[in-house]
């Protein structure tokens, strides 16, 4: 399996900052996988994402150490323009990303900036809108849409660039639970249909447990946990690092400690209730 992203002992201190925002961070991400990055706020997640999409070091000044490679090419030595074709970035607040008069103009924006020929833009925009189920919104003004719809428009704009790697920084924080779940399902589908790799920063881990291949937890700028979502959430250390362990998982861990249920595999609430009922408790 090929790596789409290789981070080697990366460290960064913002100019004027007293200490490093990220230190000695290494990670390899396999093409076509979904990776979740978690950890307390201020631990350096956004900084790490900026180092992948090139904002660091191209737009932020500071002390840079180690190396970050996307599709085998060093980010430091690439231009933002090139990177934009490989790495797509969805901001936390879609309002920072959509600003045109119509949905289709918004989706086309990145491609127009790259100077892609008109016919090619047309077909890619239509394809992206189709994929995200927003074709019927093509002529609408983005500011009239709901937050969930805005998120889809922004994501369509990202996907129209056909990036190999898509970065989502807390994509569900503005969404209600149902809309958030729909977004996660969409991510899983895009990975399957297009083979896109996703790097997602998220606090609501219960949403991602089932679709993520890997979970990395950061604290104080360093990587402190790295494993499958199962390993990380069922382990003893996650809560101490400020990872939100779902209530039902906390309960399962307690009951496993009491010897009532298994503790090696995470269960849904329904599974847990069934197991307990069948055991006659």
């Amino acid at each position: 399996m090929t790596s789409i992203l290789e981070i080697e002992s990366f460290g960064f201190r913002y100019a004027n900052a007293p200490r490093n925002a990220v230190a000695d961070f290494s990670l390899e991400v396999t093409e076509g996988s979904i990776l979740v990055l978690a950890g307390p706020s201020g631990c350096g997640k956004s900084t790490l994402l900026r180092a992948v999409n090139g904002l660091i070091p191209h737009m932020y000044n500071g002390d840079y150490s180690g190396d970050v490679k996307v599709a085998g090419r060093s980010v430091k030595g690439s231009e933002m323009r090139e990177l934009a074709q490989t790495v797509g970035f969805l901001f936390q607040n879609p309002e920072n990303q959509i600003f045109m008069f119509s949905v289709e103009r918004d989706v086309a924006f990145g491609l127009e900036n790259l100077g892609v020929p008109h016919d090619e833009i047309r077909s890619r925009v239509d394809e992206a809108m189709e994929l995200l189920g927003i074709a019927s919104l093509a002529k609408r003004a983005p500011h009239e849409l709901s937050d969930g719809q805005k998120q889809r428009v922004a994501l369509a704009g990202v996907l129209a660039m056909r990036p190999k790697l898509v970065i989502l920084d807390e994509p569900t924080s503005l969404l209600d639970p149902r809309t958030a779940k729909e977004l996660v399902e969409l991510v899983a589908r895009l990975r399957k249909e297009l083979g896109t790799t996703f790097l997602i920063v998220e606090h609501r881990l219960e949403l991602l447990v089932e679709v993520a291949d890997k979970m990395v937890v950061m604290s104080g700028g360093r990587k402190v946990l790295d494993g499958s979502p199962q390993e990380v959430l069922m382990g003893d250390l996650a809560e101490g690092y400020g990872v939100a362990v779902p209530a039902v998982t906390k309960l399962q861990k307690m009951l496993a400690g009491d010897g009532l249920v298994r503790g090696d595999r995470m269960m849904t609430g329904t599974e847990l209730a069934k197991t307990i009922s069948q055991a006659g408790h």
């Binding site: 706020s41 009239e144 709901s146 937050d147 209600d176 149902r178 779902p246 309960l251 209730a273 408790h281």
Partner: protein, 269 residues
């Protein structure tokens, strides 16, 4: 102390965001307003300090109609931490941001200094004292707006989506702050779709859908009503759903994992 009587509001683009809302929030109450994106929660909140005025009906704070007074006067009583902190932060430093409203409300300089230090410490922002609010992360900005409001000690606080961008430990601390405010007799209104955050606090819950209030009552009661919640696209707390599957008594839902464990151990043969 905060009352909505038959309030309707239409945004300039023609969206009816509040549709004949009746809601009475008592002094000292902790209330959660839930509902899917676009249900009208933020529009409701913006009416309390008079940022929006009802097209129909009446909004009052301590009996005073919001149309007859100013937002500044109302803000002294009801502090609102808005959903998007970027719209609220504008000073050159975190410290100046905290001092701004305090000075405006006429507090003495030594009181201002004390309260600024209290806020920065309580909300873990001390190290940013001299920094621009703009360099803070989204979660830090949210905590700063909350610190600013609590510093002037209003009777009521309204938090619009306070958990956005906060990690688990900060959410726990935030829940602690909400409990402390409740214990101090403050009125606390939390607008949030983070049901798991709200549930352990057992607030009164108001469910909104398309500008209307479709359910209102204690959390333990409202959160059992799966159909009502489904139709408003609100999730049920994990432990409530779990309790229902297990056949636990609906009037004694599991507030936390420990409560569920006690129940299960109690049933062991």
């Amino acid at each position: 102390m905060i009352e909505f009587e038959g309030v309707s509001f239409t945004h300039p683009n023609g969206v009816l965001a509040l549709d004949n809302v009746d809601l009475r929030i008592e002094k000292g109450e902790t209330l959660a307003i839930v509902g899917e994106n676009g249900a009208g929660k933020t529009t409701l909140v913006r009416h309390v300090t008079g940022l929006l005025k009802p097209a129909k009906g009446r909004v009052s704070v301590d009996g005073v109609d919001t149309r007859t007074t100013t937002t500044a006067t109302l803000s002294r009583k009801v502090g609102v931490a808005f959903q998007n902190p970027d719209h609220q932060l504008f000073s050159e430093s975190v410290e100046a941001e905290m001092a701004f409203a305090l000075k405006n409300f006429g507090f003495e300089p030594d009181v201002v200094a004390k309260r600024v230090s209290w806020g920065l410490q309580t909300f873990g922002l001390e190290e940013y004292r001299g920094s621009s609010p703009l360099i803070l992360s989204g979660g830090e900005k949210k905590r700063l707006t909350l610190a600013c409001i609590l510093a002037w000690d209003p009777d009521a606080v309204i938090l619009d989506e306070p958990t956005v961008g906060q990690d688990a430990l900060q959410k726990e601390r935030l829940a602690g702050t909400v409990r402390m405010l409740g214990a101090a007799g403050k009125t606390v209104v939390i607008v949030s779709h983070d049901i798991e955050f709200l549930w352990p606090m057992q607030p009164r819950v108001v469910v909104m859908k398309s500008g209307r209030i479709v359910a209102d009552g204690p959390a333990a009661e409202v959160m059992q009503r799966r159909e009502a919640l489904d139709s408003a696209r609100v999730a049920q707390p994990q432990l409530v759903a779990f309790g229902q599957e297990l056949g636990a008594k609906p009037e004694r839902p599991f507030v936390d994992a420990l409560g569920a464990r006690r129940f299960i151990e109690g049933r062991r043969p």
